[in-house]
């Protein structure tokens, strides 16, 4: 029994894409609320109460985004008050709130996505699209810390050879740029050696295969199918005006029909899927442990 983050990266990516995609391209307020609440719950479930800074940043941004629209856009019939000779309307305010909920919800989703989709998983996905690009990416990824370590080494070597003569800012800046220059030379020359090593091991001689590290298990397929089913229903609801909500010139919303309600429920379920999975896993472990 695996937890959600251990599922096949493609399954994970499709799930994130559908959840954020629906949130981004639909403006139905109830859907936004579901997305935002789901996103925060998902993030908190994974990280507990840490990451306080992230939360503060997102909610401050929420306020700014919510307030920006009524101050800039003056569409809408219901004027709340007039500021600097410009009317501030109820519709624009609600619209701003709705957009802010959407954006912050999506930002929360993406934060979780970035946590779950480690580089190795992303390389697996890009590798399916373009093995060459994926290789360049993976190499660059390896180079970043390598260059960091090399810079530190170069800096140490230069210090110990007495190349920093005085202890002042100008000398420091000179030293830093010298280190950077040496590092770049090293990086380029070393890159050539890496390239040689690749060719020596047959790179570029023909079709490449990829050693799969993530298999498609039955659970992956089941998850994917359920998820696509739910996505289909949601899309149908969003696409066929079953869930329509008009802000301008004045707010008109009709009660969602059968399909609309189904769509909302599907979206909610879709968001709950990994959390349910996590719950089941936890219960199972508990059960197993008590059985031992």
């Amino acid at each position: 029994m695996r937890s959600f983050s251990e599922y096949n990266p493609i399954v994970i990516a499709v799930w994130f894409l559908s959840v954020t995609g629906i949130a981004m391209f639909c403006n139905y307020p109830l859907l936004m609320v579901i997305s935002l609440v789901g996103a925060v719950a998902f993030f908190v479930m994974r990280n507990g109460l840490s990451h306080g800074k992230t939360h503060i940043f997102f909610w401050v941004l929420f306020l700014i985004l919510a307030l920006a629209n009524p101050l800039v856009s003056h569409n809408g019939k219901t004027v709340l008050f007039v500021m600097n000779h410009n009317p501030v309307t109820l519709e624009a305010t609600l619209y701003g709130l709705n957009s802010a909920a959407m954006i912050i919800g999506v930002l929360y989703w993406l934060r979780s996505f970035t946590q779950i989709m480690t580089s190795e998983k992303l390389l697996y996905i890009t590798g399916a699209l373009s093995p060459k690009l994926s290789l360049v990416l993976s190499m660059a990824l390896r180079f970043v810390p390598l260059f960091g370590r090399q810079s530190a080494k170069i800096n140490a070597a230069q210090t110990a050879m007495g190349l920093y003569r005085d202890d002042n800012i100008i000398d420091d800046i000179k030293g830093k740029s010298r280190v950077f220059s040496v590092m770049v030379t090293w990086a380029l020359e070393n890159g050539i050696i890496t390239a040689d090593s690749m060719e020596a091991r047959g790179f570029g001689t023909g079709r490449r295969t990829q050693m799969r590290r993530f298999r498609f298990a039955a659970a992956d397929i089941a998850f994917l199918l359920t998820e696509l089913g739910l996505l289909g229903i949601t899309c149908a609801a969003v696409g066929t005006k079953s869930l329509s909500f008009v802000f301008y010139p004045s707010i008109t919303a009709k009660a969602p029909d059968m399909l609309g309600v189904l769509g909302l429920i599907s979206y909610g379920l879709m968001i709950l899927m990994p959390m349910i999975l996590e719950l089941v896993v936890n219960l199972k472990w508990k059960y197993l442990r008590s059985a031992v």
Partner: protein, 228 residues
């Protein structure tokens, strides 16, 4: 580019995709979708052009050494994004475009975006960033004769690239927020982004001024010695 053997045709496609096909799709899309789903179209266009490019790159036999040098430059760009206030990404992309060609420039720009967003956060904007930085590198190569000839022009190009990048990304900001393009919001976004715009332009000029000569020397040695 996608298995096109004829070089002229290939170049034509290379220019046509960003300049003609993408705008055409956008306009058509805008008409068909009654102007409500601009963001969808914009995103589709960005992703499409990137996929096109990736497909072309996959099919072409690029030298291994060139590929690794691209990875090296990408890693340097990524590392550079951690410098506070000043961002050398565009400058390094331009340098790559100038010395190693448009394809390398495009790759360094766009891959730096993907890579650094592992740290700074992935999102739909990644596609736009990829396109914006990629094009900065591509155009640098197209103008390489002029830019390599005159230092002033190079710095000017850097400044313009900084402005262009900011203008380009703000289109995305507005579309995302408002789903319909609004000049007013765009203006507001541009105004609120002034500090960023200035920092982009200033860093491009500064880093091009500082880095272009030494990088040029090093890349030239690599080119001569190892035939990259």
């Amino acid at each position: 580019m996608l298995l096109i053997r004829n070089e002229k045709l290939r170049n034509a496609v290379r220019i046509a995709v960003p300049f003609f096909i993408i705008p055409t799709i956008s306009i058509l899309g805008a008409l068909v979708f009654d102007g409500k789903r601009h963001i969808l179209i914009a995103l589709a266009v960005a992703v499409l052009s990137l996929v096109l490019f990736a497909a072309g790159f996959e099919k072409k036999s690029t030298g291994t050494r060139r590929m690794v040098i691209v990875a090296v430059m990408t890693a340097l760009c990524f590392a550079g994004r951690f410098i506070p206030f000043l961002k050398p990404v565009a400058a390094l992309t331009i340098i790559t475009g100038l010395y190693l060609g448009g394809e390398a420039g495009f790759l360094v720009g766009s891959l730096s975006a993907v890579l650094s967003n592992f740290y700074f956060g992935q999102g739909p904007w990644t596609a736009f960033q990829m396109l914006a930085w990629g094009l900065i590198g591509l155009f640098a190569c197209m103008l390489s004769k002029q830019l390599l000839g005159s230092r002033i022009l190079l710095l000017l190009y850097g400044a313009l690239a900084g402005l262009g990048y900011s203008f380009f990304m703000d289109i995305w900001t507005v579309l995302w927020y408002n789903e319909e393009f609004s000049i007013k919001l765009y203006a507001a976004a541009l105004v609120s982004a002034i500090p960023y715009t200035v920092s982009y332009a200033v860093s491009n000029v500064l880093f091009l001024y500082l880095l272009a000569p030494p990088f040029g020397e090093k890349l030239r040695r690599i080119k001569v010695k190892y035939g990259v």
